[in-house]
Symmetry: C2
């Protein structure tokens, strides 16, 4: 159970909010994985992870030192995939919409997060095993134990033992192992009670979680030992800046705060006008209590955040017209409130018009997020936008939508898109006094009238001497109502005022006049609102790998990653038949491709061409070209496509032209087949 959110953001989405909503109430079983992945076997997470770690997409960090939970290193294909996703992100968001990119420090002095609320509230409840000292996240413990008991109960009752979350036999087996005894049937009342607790898990405080553990005898499932009372654990990594020990610092848990702190410079850079957006891609940290979900819950991660600053009175977006007909899968607040998970297909124009999505700017970004995710290879059928419930959002937020991607663990929030109103700029301005506001020349000045007192310095100064300042201050401090009263009395000849110390002063029209004056306001000053799309790159990357993973019927043990050429770590593999005779051709093809901006890998190992291709299918390489004896005698080259394994043939230069267009997305495979001949010969000497 986490604290009430201090802010709505990617972090809110993945930190404060338990995934409970999406997993219990909103979960739709991943029925279509088979169809999507056209795989030879049912989706098998263990098999995929084995392949990803084996081919060094990623691996547990510090493995030779025993590893540390929640810390992962990306190897060559993972780094390249991530770099390609980030490059496309930069193009799709920053370049396309002329955003102002930032690259700010991670180490942050404590006062910044005191103001933002993170020091007080960026925390989870934890409990300890009373004997072993093992630390568990309190809400995860309660959830895990009660779900296990319900599962055991179902089994005992002879029902289908798979709970909604179970996605395979392994999990079921593991859960049973944990119970370490035969299925136990519960009383009907207990089942109802457990289901009630699980449905409201998000609403429990720490002490309430402790109470639940006592009442329901919830113990550490690994040891059977009791656990301590829940304590708060702040999720920021703490450190100390400089040698004095007097400047505490935290590693940022999000990049957003530094956008807000730099607001004045950004505004100036944008010629003092809003709207504009700043953007940043960078590392953030979260000291999770007990992370166990692979790349989906880590302690250090790359995120990409946009802070779009906008006039609170005008959240229209000039490019909304370009996206208003894009249809999306939406799971709105109302539907969830009724306990359903039925998504709606709706154009964003309709959603904004009906008030389902709060404003055009939010709507524009939801579409842009959708377009980005689909472009890099996320299956649009396994992508939905879920609106936050009112009690899920911070009190100041207007609206918030998560891009959730379905994967083997359920629906995971991978992008948050929130209208954060003016909260952060307001609190930092209040704390530091820095004017984090926009000053806008008004097209027409606002005219107001106000009573104003004006002293005759000569007469009043003479009359009151050293008390003149006091007198003046008393009058100037009068509010409009009292000043009007004062004026009326003065008009009658004289009036008396009293200092805080009780000294009285008699004032006459000789000393001062009070008159109605006209004021013109030429400048409007306001704190902009912030629309924040916030991306967890690692989560997106992992879900993408699940979406594109499958295997061929004829080669079940080898995986294929159908990554789009745009993000594939390697675009083209050059495969020469043997590794001597073809050296000059390999160099030639390689150089020609490079001149077109395509960097190819060469696999000139001694393995068969088929095996070399299969190895590269696991890395997601979309195209392969083969140099064989016909290349020497006739100057031809074959081109092989990863997903279909179809092969085409043409002259070397023709194939290079076609593969260039394929990699750049100018043509697709059916179009490539129009331009080259189908190659149905068996690969020579394969």
């Amino acid at each position: 159970m986490r604290f009430s959110p201090v802010r709505v953001s990617f972090f809110r989405a993945c930190t404060y909010t338990s995934t409970f909503h999406s997993r219990r109430l909103l979960h739709t079983p991943a029925r279509n994985i088979m169809a999507v992945n056209k795989t030879a076997h049912a989706f098998d997470k263990a098999r995929l992870e084995q392949m990803l770690i084996g081919r060094f997409f990623f691996a547990p960090a510090f493995e030779i030192y025993g590893g540390v939970a929640g810390l992962y290193d990306y190897g060559p294909p993972g780094s390249a995939l991530q770099a390609n996703i980030i490059a496309e992100w930069r193009k799709h968001f920053i370049v396309e919409d002329h955003m102002l990119e930032l690259d700010t420090t991670i180490m942050t002095p404590a006062p910044v997060f005191e103001t933002s609320g993170h020091v007080a509230r960026f925390a989870d409840w934890m409990v300890k095993d009373v004997k072993t000292g093992e630390v568990l996240r309190a809400d995860h413990l309660v959830k895990g134990v009660l779900e296990a008991r319900l599962a055991s109960d179902k089994e005992a009752r002879g029902q289908a033992a798979l709970t909604q979350e179970d996605d395979g036999k392994d999990k079921k087996k593991k859960r049973r192992d944990k119970l370490k005894h035969a299925p136990v049937q519960l009383a009907d009342e207990a089942v109802a009670e457990y289901e009630r607790i699980l449905a409201q898990l998000d609403n429990h405080t720490g002490p309430e979680l402790g109470e639940l553990c006592r009442t329901h005898k919830i113990t550490n499932p690994d040891t059977g030992n009791e656990v301590t009372e829940p304590e708060m654990f702040n999720l920021m990594f703490a450190s100390s800046i400089g040698p004095t020990g007097k400047l505490p610092g935290f590693l940022r848990p999000e990049t957003a705060q530094s956008h807000f702190l730099n607001f004045s410079r950004l505004l100036k850079y944008n010629n003092d006008t809003v709207p504009f957006a700043s953007a940043q891609i960078g590392r953030s940290f979260r000291n999770e209590i007990a992370p166990k979900a692979g790349l989906l819950r880590v302690r250090e991660f790359t995120m990409a955040e946009i802070e779009h600053f906008v006039d609170p009175e005008d959240k229209a977006h000039h490019k909304f017209v370009d996206v208003r007909d894009v249809e999306l899968t939406l799971l709105d607040r109302e539907t969830q409130g009724e306990g359903h998970t039925d998504v709606k297909r709706m154009t964003i124009g309709e959603a904004v018009d009906k008030g389902v999505v709060a404003n055009e700017t939010l709507g524009y970004f939801i579409v842009r997020i959708y377009q980005f995710l689909v472009k890099i290879g996320i299956n649009p059928k396994r992508l939905r936008f879920r609106q936050h419930m009112k009690n899920e959002m911070a009190h100041y937020a207007t609206d918030c939508w998560d891009a959730e991607i379905e994967n083997s663990t359920g629906w995971t929030e991978c992008v948050g898109c929130a209208d954060r109103a003016a909260y952060d700029l307001t609190v930092h301005m209040a704390k530091t006094g820095a004017p984090l506001v926009v000053k806008q020349a008004l097209p027409e000045p606002i005219v107001t009238e106000k009573e104003v007192a004006e002293f005759n310095k000569k007469t009043a100064g003479k009359e009151f001497g050293k008390d003149f300042a006091t007198v003046r201050q008393i009058v100037e401090n009068l509010d409009e109502v009292n000043l009007v009263k004062f004026k009326e009395e003065l008009a009658k000849g004289s009036t008396t005022i009293k200092s805080p110390e009780g000294k009285e002063f008699k004032l006459t029209p000789d000393h001062l006049t009070v008159e109605k004056k006209t004021f013109k306001q030429n400048v409007r000053e306001f704190t902009p609102n912030v629309i924040e799309p916030s991306f967890g790159i690692g989560r997106i990357l992992y879900c993408l790998l699940e979406h594109v993973y499958w295997s061929r019927e004829q080669d079940v043990d080898r995986g294929v990653l159908s990554l789009p050429p745009l993000v594939a770590p390697t675009k083209v593999l050059i495969v020469p038949l043997s590794n001597k005779k073809f050296d000059h051709l390999v160099k030639d093809v390689s150089t020609k491709l490079r001149k077109r901006g395509i960097f190819a890998n060469v696999d000139d190992s001694n393995q068969s061409i088929g095996r070399r291709y299969a190895r590269n299918d696991e890395l997601g390489t979309p195209f392969g070209v083969t140099l064989d004896f016909a290349s020497l005698s006739k100057g031809t080259m074959t081109l092989r496509e990863r997903d279909t394994t179809e092969q085409l043939i043409g002259t070397i230069d023709e194939v290079i032209d076609v593969v260039t267009d394929l990699v750049n997305g100018a043509i697709d495979w059916p179009e490539a087949k129009q331009r080259l001949s189908l190659y149905d010969g068996v690969q020579a000497v394969d």
Copy 2:
């Protein structure tokens, strides 16, 4: 004064080594800055920094909270410049040489840095002001105070008051202000003593620095107070991983260690063969005691590191032939040892042949570093490679060269290039037992002969019973020489051995035989050596900005940044004459450029075209195109080059073709002038 280095790397270069060498002994005054920068005024650092911060290339981080020394944020042009430098780095190094990219975690469990030596030795000596508690770096304090006294002495003696480091009147003035009294002449012996101390500053331990403070009455120059005894301060930021408080962690001070920890996976990825290189671009941290040098000494920074793993017995490089004729400016160890700073111009081929540079691989990387730096805009005349002195290097290192870039503070190490031998892999293997080695099938097996004892288990077992294991171990522990003696005695009939506890055993040929046997070794196992080029991106970026900064005679107050198009934050500025009539043309040109991969900015503000260009000269935008009335009537567009301010004219499509070639580096400005007409008309209605 820093501890003796634990390793040679970029960090060694900028952490362990005081910049003393380069600044006192090796400093060549930056005489040619004027010429290089063709500027209207002498190089003025304050003016440049004001412009860079004003235009938000970078700014002090957390400024509205008072800022923190050594932490900076990059704003839009700085981020774009950095992103472009990194993109080129990735292309130049990783893609070009098929390096294996990594992206690893920053948060590192303590045992890793205990093994690497950082916990014990990655430290500086600090002292505290006894009254205010202000912390100072001990070596910097001694250096600053003694240099100030020498400067004061020189002034008093009526000599040219500028010391070698002084680069302007401001510094002299500041130093004098610090002294807070009139110039003081020193005794001749004191001058000699101070100079002796400064020349050997690197060789002093902490206690010796303390002794120097007492002997020479060195106090905090800001307060005049005495300072405490020097204490060691570890430069790593410390934190704690997870909620138990039992897993201490550090923020990495370099990315290198994670390359070493992942060595086995990398080797497997490279089909179990060396040489190969891994590479990583990422953030690292160093908790500097009192950083004051802007972007040149920061607490958090982006670095790019390559670890090239190579057979220790063969450090040839297959692409050395491509670079051997490249001429470089070298400052070798020998020259420095003689107290000179005379650089040598030499091809890398000659340098390796003569043994000036230790091996081909090191030489190859030195050239690649040179080519990279020059490509992104570093002035080759202000770039040299300085070899580390023997006592500067870690004991295990074979050779180390720093790419030093001259800037307003002297020569600064921006890239380190070291042959680190097998140190890190060896210590991590010793600590963890992970086999961080290469196993290589030998082309011909190595045949060796060895005496081997073989027991007759039956007879010996019967004879010695439960002592058999002891007997066996004693014999097996005999070295070759003793085993031969043992064999000779045994041949005589019997021999007696003694257990550590003093128990004697009599052995006869019945119990065992000792015979010479032949062994064939088919696999060679070795720990690879590592050549490490290590780049400080922020240092390079700052030096680059100094190198390309100048101002025009007719507009002294505006700066110009002559950044190469390759790294310029914005490549093309579109300047329409007024902001309504030309909207469709702006969109048209913008779209056409984008299709060619060039993202242009538009400045449609109300300012004059000249002022808009000038503003973008400060951002380093190399090309501008103007849309004016002739664009409407004749379909022409003018093209303006930043450095010459020359303008060409052609049809819109012609200009787009030319500017595309210019940005992509396919042609230069003189070639562009061949393809378009010179435009000598005054800009209409400017």
